[in-house]
């Protein structure tokens, strides 16, 4: 069974590029571009890893992550957060919300791939 990543990103060209990269790495990639129902989408998709943008329509990524971590079965789900806001305050907020890895835009493809591989390996070992 292939590994599944859920990419929640409202910028279609970023979503397309990441989808292409991860698909070639053997991931099954699902995408979603809306914040308000993101928690429900994550629950029903049951991915191995989530890539989450911060600035999303309807609900921001920080709030989605906080709500996600309140759920018993979502405590350990690896979440890679992408944001254009890279101030230490934002990083701290993300860490407090329970982020697994925090990455600022513009990121390189290699960084995304490395982060996804690392997070998945850590989750598999746990």
């Amino acid at each position: 069974m292939s590994r599944k990543v859920l990419l929640i990103e409202d910028e279609p060209n970023i979503a397309e590029a990441i989808r292409f990269l991860l698909t070639r790495e053997g991931w099954q990639v699902e995408t979603h571009a809306e914040g308000s129902d993101a928690v429900q989408v994550i629950q029903s998709a049951a991915p191995d890893l989530v890539i989450l943008d911060v600035m999303l329509p309807g609900k921001n990524g920080m709030d989605i992550l906080r709500d996600l971590r309140e759920l018993d079965d979502m405590q350990r789900l690896p979440v890679l957060m992408l944001t254009a806001r890279g101030q230490s305050r934002d990083r701290e907020m993300a860490e407090n919300a329970g982020v697994s890895r925090f990455m600022t835009k513009p990121f390189s493809n290699a960084e995304v791939l490395t982060a996804v591989r690392d997070l998945h390996a850590q989750a598999s070992r746990a």
Partner: protein, 429 residues
């Protein structure tokens, strides 16, 4: 030189004596509105009237004209009113000031400094936290750059990429490059405008405020029938500021036609009418009246008038400030202002008396009204706006005051159900 603060001292002494404006006016045989003008230092006072007022207030006339002590007492009263969790013996203020004038002076000075620092905090937090244009532009640029970097990297590094994917990514790249060019241009132009400004970086609303304040919110050209375009937009450096100012000037021109100054002057000379009555008299809507009262020459009014305008998101579009009336320019204002509560009751005129927390117990009478500013078409939701006229409480006095703060960060209210975030004041600032 004429002492310009005699009126303020009379007001201070009257309040210390617990006398209403109308009672004192009656005792000395003048109208309450005339006394109001005196108390706001807008009418000279001397001779027999000064002696009569001093007698009614049980003080020496010289105390009203020289009044160092009265000024000090006023400052101490403000300090006492602003104190949180500490009740001062206000009845003993005069004795305290006369027995320990040095300590009283220190206390008054420290309080003024606290007030000044609070204002600085409000201004800085307003500017630092909220420059929505800059934040949105930066986000747009970085997001587009991320998309370009990722797509370009795929095209450059992937050897065996299918032709369909290549076409798709080339198209995306082209789209994003166009987007980046536009958003970068917008950002550079915004920053250029900031550099060109003579004053330190300001948001457009501040420029607009300065423009109207420099003209004392009066435009004789518009009163004489001129159009908004007849007003030179000197000092407005950004396109946004110019556009906002032009819209407000257009209202002023239309309002001057709808409520001619000569007619309004006659009505105001007989006393300040209720806004609804004025709207009926001139067959205009309530927003027109509220705007007109805020832009009428101050000498026609018995009390100064401030104004706030916002859209349905609560974004403040225009502010005419008033001493003691503090509202952040970009969001995060206290939701208890009638300006915002009116939005939940469109087309219902709202009148409330307000006490602004964290200030020198500033109290205002507010008239607010929300109305559909633009109707896009059939079966479509109209765009609402809300407007609020703010004036110091008149001679009728205060009753049933609603307490509002400037914003949560600098609001001392502890048990507010509308609080969004903790106050930095409670953390010992």
């Amino acid at each position: 030189m004429r002492d310009t603060l005699t009126g303020s001292r009379i007001r201070e002494r009257r309040q210390i004596s617990g006398l209403r404006q109308s009672e004192l006016a009656k005792r000395v045989g003048i109208s309450p509105s005339y006394l109001n003008l005196i108390e706001h230092n807008r009418r000279r006072i001397g001779g027999k009237l000064l002696v009569d007022i001093a007698e009614a207030l049980d003080v020496e006339p010289s105390l009203l004209t020289q009044g160092i002590e009265a000024t000090l007492i006023s400052a101490l009263r403000e300090a006492a009113a602003d104190a949180v969790g500490q009740r001062a013996e206000v009845d003993g203020l005069e004795e305290f000031a006369s027995r320990f004038p040095g300590w009283a002076g220190v206390l008054a000075q420290m309080h003024q400094r606290v007030v000044s620092l609070e204002r600085t905090v409000e201004t800085l937090s307003d500017r630092l936290t909220h420059d929505p244009h800059l934040a949105a532009s930066m986000h747009e640029v970085l997001t587009t750059a991320a998309a370009i970097r990722s797509t370009a990297s795929i095209l450059a590094d992937t050897q065996d990429i299918e032709i369909e994917w290549q076409d798709r990514f080339h198209k995306n790249l082209h789209q994003d490059a166009e987007r980046l060019a536009e958003s970068s241009k917008a950002l550079v132009s915004y920053l250029d405008e900031s550099d060109a400004a003579k004053t330190p970086r300001s948001v457009p609303l501040e420029e607009v405020e300065s423009f109207f304040a420099a003209r004392n919110y009066g435009f004789p050209e518009l009163e004489a029938g001129g159009g908004a375009e007849s007003i030179a937009l000197d000092g407005l450096n950004t396109a946004t500021a110019r556009s906002v100012a032009q819209e407000i000037l257009r209202w002023c021109a239309e309002d001057a036609v709808a409520i001619p100054l000569a007619d309004l002057k006659q009505i105001l000379a007989k006393g300040e009418p209720d806004p609804i009555t004025l709207a009926q008299r001139f067959a205009v809507d309530i927003p027109t009246v509220l705007r007109r009262l805020a832009f009428v020459p101050e000498e026609y009014l018995t009390r100064p008038a401030g104004l706030a305008l916002c859209d349905a998101s609560g974004s403040v579009l225009f502010l005419k400030p008033l001493p003691g009336f503090v509202m952040p320019r970009h969001g995060e204002a206290c939701p208890l202002w009638p300006l915002f509560t009116a939005l939940s009751r469109p087309l219902v005129p709202v009148r409330k008396q307000i006490a602004q927390l964290g200030r020198s117990a500033a109290e205002f009478e507010c008239h607010a009204y929300a109305w559909p500013h633009a109707v896009p078409g059939y079966d479509q939701d109209p765009a609402y706006r809300s407007i609020m006229l703010v004036r110091p409480i008149g001679e009728e006095g205060a009753s049933a005051l609603t307490h509002v703060g400037a914003n949560c960060r600098v609001c001392p209210s502890r048990d507010c159900t509308s609080r969004r975030e903790p106050s930095i004041l409670s953390e010992g600032f």
